[in-house]
């Protein structure tokens, strides 16, 4: 059944790699011991956690004591933000961007209600921030600058290394939500000014329900979940051993494939992009084409609506993609990212995101290119807009 699916929505989630599934399985069956227990039966579980920590640390250029396992990217984001405020009582400001994931954006909005001042960096029509604006907004009151590594919708890469230096120059901490970047592009945190980095297992072929937070050595830290002493007292809760083993294996695979994959994914993406632009009139690519994840294409088709396109794509070839249109989410507002970029409403509602993984093939691109022009044409024939 899943073989028939053409899955090009890998920024939403990814399939669990077979090697990852194999690596986690023993901890759901025979080695079910609690890693904190003293008897040898729990040994394999405890060992698996430490092995996974080594693999994940290697993937991002960290040391093992800088990795804290969490339940998801959102938990990692909340932990970093709340910790930065808790450990710097005198600083009451946060700087972030208008295009963050809701996991950061909504935490910031809640903090505003509690009296924290939050500035949101604007973006230009390609979704880029202005480093001078950022510099002007960081002050001695700033507790944290939090800017995503890569945007989930348009794939833009943000200048996090520079921003981290900028934050440090004013004594502020720096966090980056790197959920979309880890495993897709090389990241080497050693010697960098990045204090916190969030990542999530299910975006790199591990299962849902496992994430991690990188916390730079010696950076003051306040746990988000209090309780047991797990993760050296930094994150309470019995470890998700199978999930952690899976994330470790996924990190290992990512590191193995990273260099070749970046080339392969960019080739698929660029072929799809060129093909769609050539075959569908009034289409336009969104984002910063110079600084973009290799796997992501966000493209809008004017005068038609995203949900209708997605359902037709599925109908035509079980193609799974996503859209920034309002109708797909149940909210009445289209994508906050595309709106922040000031996109024309005629284009906004018809935006589609294709995101690839190592399991995609040329055939997938061929199929999309074969059906898309017909879908666009059929929906435009229904639409009252865009006619001369």
């Amino acid at each position: 059944m899943t073989n028939e699916i053409v899955y090009v929505d890998n920024n939403a989630t990814t399939c669990v790699a077979p090697e990852v599934f194999a690596a986690m399985q023993p901890f759901l069956t025979e080695y079910y011991g609690n890693p904190s227990s003293v008897y040898p039966f729990s040994g394999p579980a405890a060992k698996a956690i430490e092995q996974a920590r080594v693999s994940l640390a290697a993937l991002v250029g960290a040391t093992t004591e800088e990795i804290i396992f969490t339940s998801c990217g959102s938990e990692s984001d909340s932990t970093a933000i709340m910790s930065a405020l808790a450990t710097q009582a005198g600083r009451r400001k946060i700087l972030t961007t208008m295009v963050e994931h809701p996991a950061v954006l909504n935490v910031c909005r809640n903090l505003q209600k509690q009296g924290i001042h939050v500035d949101y960096l604007r973006v230009d029509s390609q979704g880029r921030i202005d480093l001078d604006e950022a510099r002007a907004l960081i002050s001695s009151d700033t507790a944290l600058v939090t800017v995503m590594f890569a945007n989930n919708e348009i794939g833009n890469l943000y200048p996090v290394w520079e921003l981290a230096e900028m934050a440090h120059a004013k004594g502020a901490l720096f966090h980056t939500d790197a959920v979309q970047a880890v495993g897709k592009i090389p990241i080497n945190l050693s010697g960098s000014a990045i204090d916190f980095l969030s990542l999530s297992g299910h975006k790199l072929h591990a299962p849902k329900g496992i994430g991690a937070l990188y916390r730079r050595r010696f950076v003051p830290f306040a746990p988000f979940l209090a309780g047991g002493h797990q993760e050296h007292g930094q994150r309470a809760g019995t470890e998700n051993v199978a999930g952690i083993a899976a994330l470790g294996k996924a990190a290992e695979l990512a590191q193995q494939h990273l260099a070749a994959e970046a080339v392969q994914l960019a080739a698929l993406r660029d072929r799809l992009q060129a093909g769609l632009l050539a075959s569908c009139p009034d289409a336009m690519v969104n984002g910063d084409l110079q600084h973009r994840l290799p796997n992501t294409l966000n493209i809008c088709f004017k005068y038609i609506e995203g949900e209708a396109i997605l359902l037709r794509l599925y109908q035509a070839g079980k193609i799974c993609a996503s859209s920034g249109s309002a109708c797909t989410t149940g909210s009445l507002e289209p994508s906050h990212v595309l709106r922040a970029m000031g996109l024309d409403y005629q284009a906004l509602h018809g935006s589609i995101r294709f995101s690839f993984s190592r399991y995609n093939t040329d055939q997938d691109v061929e199929l999309i290119l074969a059906v898309m022009p017909g879908i666009v044409k059929a929906l435009r024939e229904l639409s009252p807009f865009g006619r001369n």
Binding site: M98, R109, Q112, K113, V118, Y120, Y303, I304, E305, G306, E307, A308, L311, R312, Q315, S325, A326, C327, T328, G330, S331, L332, E333, P334, H336, R339, A340, Y345, Q346, H349, E381, L382, S383, P384, F385
Partner: protein, 293 residues
Amino acid sequence: MWNYSEKVMDHFLNPRNVGEIVAADGVGEVGNIVCGDAMKLYIKLSADKQHIDQVGFQTFGCASAIASASALTEMLRGKSLAEAAALTNQDIAHYLGELPEEKMHCSVMGMEAFQAAMHDIRKKHPELNLPGGENDLTGEDRIVCQCFSISERKIKEVVQQNHLTTVEHVTHYCKAGGGCGGCKGEIQSILDKLNGSAAAASPAAARPAPGAPLTNLQKMKLVQETFDEVIRPGLMKDGGDAELVDIDGDTVYVRLQGRCASCPSATQTLKHWVEAKLRELVSTALAVEEVKG
């Protein structure tokens, strides 16, 4: 994902009666591209002008918007004008084997397009003396939701026809309140009035009645409360915020932050919205002054 019925998917993938009718007796156009859905409905009457002979449509929107429009055209074809006038958005939803609640506004859009087309028929054929059709922009046709241009009449209609009880429902059925959220209080009052719920049920009842004389202390407390519970949450929804700087007599000094980036009718400035809320919930004597910087 949405759980669409087979009939919705059928009408979405194989829409009936698509396209413009050149010599239509009535054309109704509703929605706009900013809101994410729009529909144009064309009606051609029979020679004796008593029946609907041909119907055509064009829709910009999601699957359920296209399916609702297609279903509506099938339902209208062959009907007498009187029969057609009795249709409601519920009939469209039933015809399609129900719509997800969040998508009910698509069926409402179909009915709006039909009403707009009827209005056009009345204008083009005054000799038919069709009943109804006057618009009263100061009364019930006053726009309550500025973001999606939804009138009080429309809100009352969806509330009554669909037995709605919450603001969230109203948003699902006609989008009102789904943009900046500034009109949610007003939608609640419309609901309260229609559903006869005693004002005592709302927390605002603990406040002195609007218009009642307030002591300075009461006024300051109320302004602060309104600010924290209504105004700031309203602005924050869009990444904006405001700070209450000072209250001097009836002048409230406010510092505005961020912007109402999502509201298409952003010309209606934040200051006016803040002032309107304070006047509505505290005292009509209040004026807002913006403190810059």
